[in-house]
């Protein structure tokens, strides 16, 4: 397979969101009798990108009740809470999907009563850092005098005077001086409204007369 050929994930991903959740779906290409598959979307069904060989299983019940320890032949790269699919040999008695708990670099345990199996393999049920979002965000919070509004909160330095006006407006409002409060609130609104957004690039090309 050519290394520059994109095979995974496929190109049929899509997203949508509600107030506080993001949904990731894939076009469902499975064929069900009597049902159209055109433009049907379902959850991501692909295979994870972390896998490895389990060189031995051991009874971990003495440490954590009802669990089995897996020792891998190399660093597994998993974290506590990660979900994996295990396939065990020779009988497949430990086959299944599990949420694992990290022990060390090449060991983890999972909740399943120990059954003697010689070895096995595991594959993650996720793509590590496989999803990236870019979003407009709230600014960071300030909770120490040494913190800077630009470096700690992300507020453009040109808008720092607006914060001062906002504070003055609120302070005058607390004192009952509504006239001054409105004056500084007006200044604040004007600064925020007029402050230019950053441009993403050159929008027009000026061609001088030849």
């Amino acid at each position: 397979m050519a290394t520059n050929k994109r095979t995974y994930p496929n190109s049929n991903f899509a997203w949508y969101n509600d107030e506080d959740r993001l949904a990731i779906v894939c076009e469902d290409t499975t064929s069900v009798s009597g049902e159209s598959t055109v433009e049907k979307y379902d959850t991501f069904q692909g295979t994870g990108n972390i896998s490895g060989t389990i060189s031995s299983f051991a009874d971990y019940n003495g440490t954590v009740a009802g669990t089995t320890k897996a020792t891998c032949s190399a660093a597994h790269g998993l974290k506590t809470g990660d979900r994996i699919a295990i396939s065990s040999l020779p009988d497949g008695d430990l086959d299944g999907n599990y949420s694992i708990t990290y022990i060390d670099g090449d060991e983890f345990y999972f909740t399943k009563a120990y059954v003697a199996e010689s070895s096995g393999t595991f594959t993650s049920l996720f793509i590590e850092n496989g999803l990236r979002i870019t979003y407009t965000a709230k600014y960071g919070t300030i909770d120490a005098q040494t913190e800077d509004l630009k470096t700690n909160a992300g507020l453009d330095s040109g808008l720092h005077p607006a914060v001062v006006c906002y504070l003055k407006a609120r302070m005058f409002e607390d004192m009952g001086d509504i006239q001054r409060a409105q004056y500084f609130k007006g200044m604040y609104d004007k600064m925020v409204k007029q402050y230019p957004l950053r441009k993403s690039g050159v929008r027009t090309l000026s061609v001088p007369r030849l």
């Binding site: 994109r6 959850t43 793509i127 999803l131 040494t146 509004l149 607006a162 609120r170 302070m171």
Partner: protein
């Protein structure tokens, strides 16, 4: 400008003030500016999980601009937004846990 600079300006006019109250007012101002300007963008990454549809968003997310998934070449590929989701989706799933980590911005993107 640091928080201390701002507090000094306020205290010059109003006298000694509670530090926590000043922080609260500054954070109120930051939230108010964010709701009006929407020019502070950020990126985060999380695991793409098999059989999981919903990913809980952190509280700092105001508006999602773009969503990308990692391909086999370790490049992030832009995915489209589903315009009419209710008519073409299969049954929902219940899990929605997600742990987001900050993106460094060094990753390559395809748009």
């Amino acid at each position: 400008m640091t928080a201390k600079n701002i507090i000094e300006q306020i205290e010059k006019l109003f006298g000694r003030q509670s530090e926590q109250y000043m922080f609260q007012l500054m954070n109120d101002a930051l939230d108010d500016i964010a709701s009006h300007k929407r020019n502070f963008t950020s990126s985060k990454k999380t695991n793409l999980k098999k059989h999981q549809r919903w990913y809980q968003l952190d509280d700092d997310v105001v508006d999602i601009k773009r969503v990308e998934v990692l391909d086999t070449n370790d490049r992030y590929v832009l995915v489209p937004k589903l315009a009419d989701s209710h008519k073409i989706l299969r049954a929902d799933t219940d899990s929605n846990s997600a742990t987001w980590s900050s993106a460094t911005g060094s990753d390559d993107s395809l748009t």
